[in-house]
C-alpha cells in the first residue's frame, strides 16, 4: 500500500501530541469545588517542600502575603526604622493620602503588596509572578542574561528582574524601577536608583519565606532588609481584578500618614 506523505505527517504529529500529553501531569481527581478564589482565612497546608524533577524546590502555587501592607516598616527587623535621607523626608512631607498611585489603580510593585494573592509560575527560562492586585505581573529571566545597562535599561513600574538558584533559594535581582510607586499605603517612597535583591525559600509545603534587600542610595542612607512569609492558599485561584470604579481619590483630602511622620522627623532634625 502506498503511504501518503501527508498521512505520515499526521501520524507523527499525533504521536508527538500524545507524548506531550503523557508528560502533562493532570490530577487524577479534580480539585474540590470551593467558592471562587478560595478562602482568605483557610490555614496554609503542612507537608514537605515540593520539588521539581531536577531537585530544586517547586515554588508554583497561589501565595498570600499578609504583613506590611499598610506600613512596610512592619517588615523591618524589630527596632529598626527606615533610614530616610533628608531630601526624602522633605518630599514625603508633601504627600497627600489621595496621591497614592495604587489608590488610582496604578500598578503594585516591589516591595509593595496588597491583600490579594499572587501565583508563581515556573518555566525553564522564566519565572512569572502573576499578581491578582490590579492585574499585574512580573517576569524574572532565568536564562542567565544580565541587566541591560546605560540607555538600554528602560525604567518601568516592575523593573528588570533576573533570577538564579542558590541551593534551595531563588534569588531575584531587580533594577530599573521608575520612582512612581509607594512602598505601602502609608506613603513611603523611593527613587529610580532602587536595587532590590529578593530571596525566596519554600521552607515547607505551605510557607514561602522571603526577604527583600532594598538598596536605594537616591532615597535612603543605607540598605535595609524587609522580611515576610507568604502562605499557600489551598484550593485557591486568582480572581479578576479590573479597577474600573475608583471613587475614593476625589473624596479624600488629607496628608499621607508618612507625611505626618516626616513632618515630625524634620522638626526633630532627624533624617535617620
Amino acid at each position: 500500500m502506498r503511504t501518503h506523505p501527508f498521512r505520515i505527517g499526521v501520524v507523527i504529529a499525533a504521536a508527538f501530541v500524545a507524548s506531550i500529553g503523557a508528560q502533562i501531569t493532570v490530577p487524577s481527581t479534580p480539585p474540590p469545588q470551593t467558592r471562587a478564589g478560595g478562602s482568605i482565612t483557610a490555614k496554609a497546608p503542612s507537608g514537605p517542600t515540593p520539588r521539581k524533577p531536577n531537585g530544586q524546590p517547586d515554588l508554583t502555587g497561589v501565595w498570600l502575603r499578609r504583613a506590611g501592607i499598610v506600613n512596610i516598616e512592619q517588615l523591618l527587623p524589630k527596632g529598626e526604622t527606615l533610614p530616610f535621607r533628608p531630601e526624602t523626608l522633605k518630599r514625603m512631607s508633601q504627600l497627600k493620602s489621595q496621591d497614592d498611585p495604587q489608590l488610582k489603580c496604578l500598578p503594585v510593585a516591589t516591595p509593595r503588596s496588597e491583600p490579594y494573592p499572587f501565583r508563581i509560575v515556573e518555566t525553564p527560562t522564566h519565572i512569572f509572578i502573576v499578581m491578582e492586585a490590579v492585574h499585574g505581573y512580573r517576569q524574572v529571566f532565568m536564562d542567565g542574561r544580565k541587566h541591560p545597562t546605560g540607555e538600554d535599561l528602560q525604567l518601568s513600574w516592575q523593573g528588570h528582574s533576573i533570577g538564579h538558584w542558590e541551593g534551595n533559594t531563588l534569588v531575584v535581582d531587580t533594577v530599573g524601577f521608575n520612582d512612581l510607586t509607594w512602598f505601602d499605603n502609608w506613603g513611603h517612597i523611593h527613587s529610580d536608583k532602587m536595587h532590590v535583591v529578593e530571596r525566596f525559600t519554600r521552607v515547607d509545603l505551605g510557607h514561602l519565606n522571603a526577604s527583600m534587600l532594598v538598596d536605594d542610595p537616591g532615597a535612603y542612607s543605607r540598605p535595609f532588609t524587609l522580611n515576610y512569609t507568604a502562605e499557600l492558599m489551598p484550593n485557591a485561584e486568582l480572581m479578576e481584578y479590573i479597577c474600573d470604579n475608583e471613587q475614593d481619590a476625589p473624596n479624600i483630602d488629607a496628608p499621607a500618614d508618612a507625611a505626618i511622620d516626616a513632618e515630625k522627623l524634620l522638626k526633630q532634625g532627624n533624617s535617620r
Binding site: R35, G37, Q98, L103, D248
Partner: protein, 132 residues
C-alpha cells in the same frame, strides 16, 4: 435624616473591620469619620460589583419623608467572595439595613460594614480576618 448611633461594641468591631479592610487600599481615617457611625435602612437601587470596591446604593427615607440615595462603599468583590458573598447576595429592590461610617467628603457617601436583611438577619459578618 435617619441615621442613628448604634451599639458601641458593634461600632468598635465594625471600625476594626473597616480599618483592616480598607487600609490596604486607602487610609480609613483620611476618607471616613470614625466619630460618625451611622445605621440606615433602605431599598437597594443599584449594586456595583466593581474594583477597587463594590458599592451598594440604597434609597433612604428620612423622618420628614424625604428620600435620598446613599452610596455605600464595600470591600472589593474579590475580598467579599473569599468571605462567602456572592455577586447576587444583595439585589435591587432588597430591603437592607447597613451600619457604617460617614464619609468626610462626598455627598451621601458612607462606608458599609455590617449589612442585615429585611428581617434583621446579618448577611455580612463582621469578620476581622476579612482583609488579612
Amino acid at each position: 435624616m435617619r441615621y442613628q448611633p448604634f451599639r458601641i461594641g458593634g461600632a468598635i468591631a465594625l471600625l476594626l473591620l473597616l480599618s483592616s479592610t480598607l487600609d490596604a487600599h486607602h487610609s480609613f481615617s483620611a476618607q471616613y469619620d470614625s466619630s460618625k457611625p451611622v445605621e440606615m435602612r433602605g431599598t437597594v437601587t443599584k449594586v456595583e460589583w466593581t474594583n477597587p470596591h463594590a458599592r451598594v446604593y440604597i434609597d433612604v427615607r428620612d423622618d420628614k419623608g424625604q428620600t435620598a440615595n446613599w452610596n455605600f462603599e464595600m470591600a472589593s468583590p474579590n475580598i467579599l467572595v473569599r468571605n462567602g458573598w456572592k455577586q447576587n447576595t444583595v439585589k435591587i429592590g432588597d430591603q437592607i439595613t447597613v451600619s457604617g461610617y460617614l464619609a468626610r467628603r462626598g455627598d451621601h457617601m458612607a462606608i458599609a460594614g455590617a449589612v442585615a436583611d429585611a428581617t434583621g438577619k446579618p448577611i455580612f459578618d463582621s469578620n476581622p480576618d476579612i482583609a488579612r
